[in-house]
Symmetry: C2
Subunit: 133 residues, 2 copies
């Protein structure tokens, strides 16, 4: 359970950074490398920490604070890689939407922490919600 808890803590740090619009905390949550990838819902995949950081900077300037309610979080681990499957339930000014998400983390032995190396979210069409059972 220790590894699972550490991965979930890393996952939550990401969402706390997002909600707080804290770019420093967001930087700390990520593996800031060229292999890092980020696919926001409906976006093309961003590659490398530079474009990813720029996207969060832009998102943090936007109107309407986002609040995430995380459901169906499930952690899988093999060696130093973990991936979390979850639903982000987004409560925004425009109403609610469910984002099906996978986050990949890699253990950083130097600091004993897990860092996000891939984030991929996609909006779930209303007709497909029932599949999530």
């Amino acid at each position: 359970m220790e590894v699972t808890d550490a991965v979930l803590a890393a996952n939550h740090r990401y969402y706390e950074a997002f909600e707080a619009r804290d770019l420093d905390a967001m930087s700390a949550a990520w593996e800031r490398t060229e292999r890092a990838t980020c696919t926001h819902p409906g976006w093309a995949t961003l590659r490398g920490w530079g474009p990813i950081a720029a996207s969060y900077f832009a998102l943090f300037q936007g109107p309407g604070q986002l609040q995430f309610v995380l459901t169906r979080e499930r952690v899988a681990t093999t060696g130093d890689v973990a991936w979390v499957s979850l639903d982000e339930n987004l409560l925004g000014d425009g109403g609610g939407v469910t984002i099906a998400t996978v986050n990949i983390f890699v253990a950083d032995p130097a600091v004993g922490e897990w860092r996000m190396v891939c984030h991929h979210g996609s909006a779930v069409a209303a007709a497909m919600e029932e599949l999530g059972g």
Copy 2:
């Protein structure tokens, strides 16, 4: 390069199985476990090999053969886990669409092969295509 090539081969096996509508080949491409997850574009995340297999069975019955042109394939590896970031350019009866995708594979030492354990695809909105540069 050997590992990267093996992961790319596993990635291509998945798309060949999809194009051929071959459920046996699709089964061979996947880690058929409870932790396997699959998020088709706009769908809720399916968990476990049973629901995932059922989804491919349903998709393979549908009208309109799908053809995938894969671009921007990039492999990252840590230990026995690899993830491939790529664009699926789908050529179907209704015209073209780009699906931003991440596929996670785990090495199966028993057979010396990489098996898919997570597939997540999401349609890229036209306005976002330029980001994919």
